[in-house]
Amino acid sequence: MKPARFDYVRAETVAHAGEILAAAGGDGKVLAGGQSLMPMINFRLVKPTVLVDINHIAGLDTIALDGGRLRLGALVRHRMTAEDGLVKAHVPVLHHAMKHVAHLTVRNRGTFCGSVCHADPAAEMPMMTLLLDGLMHTASSRGTRAVAARDFFVGSLVTALEPHEMVTAIEIDALPPGAGWGFEEFARRHGDYALASVAVVLERQGGHARNVRVATMGVGEMPARMDTVEAALEGSAMDDRALDGAVDLLRAAVAPNSDLNASADYRRHLVGALARRALADAWSRATETAQ
């Protein structure tokens, strides 16, 4: 199990990386943490002509808070996200989710942006980006653009990123003070890709849920926001009846696949059970805030 041949370029700048990717005409690949890409290269499932190593580009390894949004650069490793004070303070749901991301050694190398670009339907970071209304900042030899998370995920392992583009940073929402959150995941073993996972954030105003956001993963070709569930819970009292209704809606909204580990029926059951837990957790964590 050895990689096929490729060329290697250590990019000095984002512009340099863009040039190399453009020259590769679609057959180049960006190497950041390599924790998803390298296994596929070793299996020869991916055979790039050139690998563009962005690990030495300065300035990409920072997390910054800017106008109520958090910006994670392309070289922010999972470990940094997990340990970062801004993330813990402003996006506790992401801080918590990091505990489920693979293992210590993988977290040392793997990057937030890389995981999002890999777009595994059962990986946490794509779902969190979607939950937190993420914006992908991309760069290429043709310039820069920003793609909303809702437009970014196109299918299993497929994104709207063009072959000549790289993601330089991802911006996500910081949660308002008092917001509640819930995160539930079930995997066969600790650190494995999830059979299903649900993440929730909401606010509590006058005893009612506001700005409810619910995202799922592992139950379809890509992570998804549960629009019908969010709409139904908006303004609700988050009582048993509301939660039961939300779980039913969520189970109706997902289209899970059957695979080696789980059938669609089981996944549909599971994601509902996890959603119920995550919603209840979010509600109990939320503190009453003025409208």
Binding site: M1, K2, P3, A4, R5, F43, R44, F186, R188, R189, H190, G191, D192, Y193, L195, L260, N261, A262, S263, D265, Y266, H269, L270, A273, L274, R276, R277
Partner: protein, 801 residues
């Protein structure tokens, strides 16, 4: 013919024996510092690397092989298919005397047909593995797909497509064990329980993938094979025939080996292949499997359907058991064990450690287009124990009897030994009842905790599994009948050299068991030398005339016995020489910790001084009485000895996710005299982990088209640290067995008991729903299905309105 049992040591003890102590392992310093030497660590000058193009078809005729531009790739040296080496090696034939058996020939590369996805077809030899894999991409093989039956239930049918036409049937193994009149007993019994159990296919997953390096010495016309095998002696003997080389020109060496669990315990295609290629190319040739290759093509395990019915009387006493087993043995019968190894042991061990008059076990081993099943830690008994222990619990539930009490009433008691089971196995003596009591020390408290959890609506359950196995088997009992090998003896060649150092060489092959430590403990105790002066050699066919290796929980019993016998002979020679040198009668001498001491005078000599006098100082011992301080003795325990255990598991099933957490696990085991408790505990922990994997996680899956779906470690799930509870171990050292040393084999047991105990615990947890686990692993998916069906059934049973 058996060696006299060793009674309590009458000799005066000057110091504590090493046997029984928690001695730190001799192996560790090299393995901890990265100084181990596994096959893939060996690089020889001019060495070439092999990559293998494997079949992507389950059953097909090979029409043509086109190597394309493969030779244009820099570094590619040669490409071979079966036709190119047909005259260079004979196939290995796993013969047996079983009626109706067909021995499938085993070749390095598929000839004419492929019979499973992953079977080697073409070998590329190159200067690097990278280049060899580049060449694989260039090769095109045209196949004519042939019909096949991928499931054992279809493959046993008379009209099923044949995998080996020469066999005339896919069923190449059919056996039956019988005692009494089981049909009548079952018909008359007040209570019967019946189920079809399925233990799915597993793969051993040693952390080191298989690796083979052949080195042809053209000057001596001799071949050395370095192999990650746990049976180097067996490999030497069969390859000597296949390659027409005498044993003195064919040496098979297993250096440090990174685990086997059975997967390195049969002859492999690629082991044959590198020998042929090294000889043809006159350069060293190495093949190192990658993980995908080992998951795809290493010998696999279990895969039985067991239809079984148990009859008990109103008090829960076992009356009779009948079982019909279909073992899916895969595409080939492995060398040397044959495809009978696993399924036949299921029916021979199915009656378990219980008193029961009537039994009939039928088994068929059927060929299917999958990798062959072979040895796997526990062989047969994980499946048989799963089925039997489930039946015991099902019967207990039907009777309203506590599962521990049910076992207490049926386990063979001390007065009944030796006890012959319905299949003919003789349990010499072992602590069956004591193990049950040992595992159940906290049982009442656990039951209370379970009932409290259940009252809260939680799915918590407790499961027991009792079993016995035969270990340290001598020449009277072959592991499978009529095999071309002898597994019942072991030889130790011990010598004290001119420097006073002790070397003890064996036919065993340690691959994690710590035998360099435990055998040195025995040698030092028996010889009276210092532990640190003993060097244990193993894993090399050149060490003793006939060696097989380490498997079947044999090495502590047989190796330890051989060590004891040889050490005693050498010790006599040492004392005889010392008696001359010290001028005291031999009877007055004793040896310990490297010193020979005269009881009367307290005069001493070191082993080194004696050795120097014997070998180097001419005349100090009369020439006609001088003997080299060496011995080579062979030990044969003739029969085998039982090793018993009871496992207790407590689990909780998550009502939302159907994930199972093992919250409590206890093993009570009787392994006879314990040589090194540290090592025994490590063996128990590791085997239980493997059993928990089999119960909850691990499953090799081939789809309907014969393709493997579990070809990576992200898909074939083995336990990690978070899956494991702390394991309580209760050592029961009851009556010692009648073998030299009083040891019982214990390397496999955890794998045998844990799946059954966990299956019983899950069934107990889900007993409010009436669920009985009959298929392992009990995955969240399977539990979800069972609970859904049970709840649907309950809803139906409810009266309308």
């Amino acid at each position: 013919m058996t060696d006299a049992p060793r009674t309590a040591d009458a000799s005066v003890e000057l110091r504590p024996k090493l046997v029984g102590q928690r001695i730190r392992r001799t192996e560790d310093p090299r393995l901890l510092t990265g100084s181990g030497r596994y096959v893939d660590d060996i690089a020889l000058p001019g060495m070439l690397h092999v990559a293998v193009r494997r079949s992507d078809q389950p059953h097909a005729r090979i029409l043509s092989i086109d190597v394309g531009d493969a030779f244009a790739i820099p570094g590619v040296v040669a490409i071979f298919d079966a036709r190119d080496i047909a005259g260079d090696i004979r196939p290995a034939i796993p013969t047996s005397r079983m009626d109706g058996y067909y021995a499938t020939p085993i070749r390095p590369l598929a000839q004419d047909k492929v019979r499973y996805t992953g079977e080697p077809v073409v070998a590329v030899v190159a200067e690097s593995r990278y280049a060899a894999e580049d060449a694989l991409d260039q090769i095109a093989i045209a196949y004519e797909p042939l019909p096949f039956a991928i499931r054992q239930v279809d493959a046993v049918e008379p009209g099923a497509p044949l995998l080996h036409e020469e066999a005339g049937s896919n069923v190449i193994i059919a056996r039956q064990f019988q005692r009494g009149d089981v049909d009548a007993a079952i018909a008359a019994a007040p209570v019967t329980v019946r189920r079809r159990f399925r233990m799915t296919r597993k793969t051993p997953v040693p952390m080191e993938n298989r690796s083979y390096l052949a080195d042809w010495d053209k000057r001596k016309r001799a071949l050395t094979l370095h192999t990650s095998s746990n049976i180097p002696g067996i490999v030497r003997d069969v390859l000597a025939d296949c390659l027409d080389l005498p044993g003195n020109r064919l040496r098979v060496v297993a250096p440090d080996v990174g685990g086997s669990f059975g997967g390195k315990g049969s002859l492999n295609h690629e082991e044959m292949l590198v020998c042929v290629l090294a000889k043809k190319l006159e350069r060293p040739v190495k093949f190192t499997a990658d993980r995908m290759e080992d998951l795809t093509a290493m010998s696999q395990a279990f895969d039985e359907l067991i239809d079984a019915e148990l009859a008990v009387d109103a008090e829960g006493r076992l009356i009779g058991l009948r079982a019909d087993v279909i073992g899916d043995i895969g595409a080939y019968s492995v060398y040397p064990w044959t495809g009978a190894l696993e399924p036949v042991q299921v029916v021979s061990f199915l009656p378990g450690p219980y008193r029961m008059q009537h039994y009939r076990g039928r088994v068929r081993g059927v060929l299917t287009p999958k990798p062959p099943t072979g040895p796997y830690r526990g062989v047969g008994r994980p499946s048989s124990t799963f089925a039997m222990e489930r039946l015991i619990d099902m019967a207990a539930r039907k009777l309203g009897l506590d599962p521990a009490e049910m076992r207490r009433r049926n386990l063979v008691t001390a007065e009944e030994f030796p006890y012959r089971t319905g299949s003919g196995i003789i349990w010499d003596k072992s602590a069956f009842q004591e193990c049950l009591e040992g595992a159940c020390a906290d049982y009442p408290a656990l039951v209370k905790a379970r009932d409290a959890a259940r009252a809260e609506g939680r799915w918590v359950g407790i499961g027991l599994a009792s079993y016995a196995e035969l270990t340290g088997i001598g020449s009277r009992i072959a592991v499978a009948p009529g095999m071309p090998i002898n597994t019942g003896t072991e030889t130790a060649a011990i010598r004290i050299d001119a420097t006073g150092a002790v070397t003890a060489a064996f036919g065993i092959s340690s691959h994690g068991q710590g035998l360099e430590t435990t055998l040195a403990q025995i040698v030092a105790d028996e010889l009276g030398c210092r532990f640190e002066d003993v060097e244990i050699l193993h894993g090399d066919s050149a060490l003793v005339p006939m060696g097989t290796g380490t498997y079947a929980s044999r090495s502590a019993v047989l190796g330890g016995g051989a060590a004891t016998k040889s050490a005693r002979v050498v010790k006599t020679k040492v004392l005889k020489a010392a008696a001359h040198l010290m001028d005291v009668p031999m009877e007055e001498l004793e040896a310990g910790n490297g010193l020979i001491r005269a009881r009367s005078s307290n005069a001493t000599m070191t082993f080194k001084e004696v050795a120097r006098a014997v070998y180097s100082q001419m005349g100090r011992i009369p020439y006609d009485q001088r003997e080299d301080l060496v011995a080579e003795e062979t030990y044969d325990p003739y029969l085998g000895t039982a090793c018993a255990s009871t496992h207790l598991a407590m689990v909780e099933v998550d009502r939302d996710t159907f994930g199972v957490t093992v919250t409590h696990f206890v093993v009570a085991e009787d392994c006879g005299r314990i040589i090194n408790p540290l090592i025994v505990e490590g063996q128990v922990h590791g085997a239980v982990a493997q059993g928990i994997g089999a119960a909850l996680l691990e499953e090799v899956v081939h789809d309907e088209t014969g393709q493997l779906l579990t070809a990576s470690l992200a898909d074939y799930l083995v336990p990690v640290a978070t899956n494991m509870p702390d394991i309580g171990i209760v050592h029961i050292e009851a009556d010692l067995p009648n073998n030299l040393g009083g040891f019982r084999g214990m390397g496999e047991g955890g794998t045998i008991g844990a799946p059954a105990a966990i299956a019983n615990a899950i069934s107990d947890a889900l007993s409010p729903l009436g669920i009985e686990i009959d298929t392992l692993p009990a995955t969240p998916e399977r539990l979800f299905r069972l609970v859904e069906a049970a709840q649907a059934g309950m809803a139906q049973d409810k009266p309308a309105g």
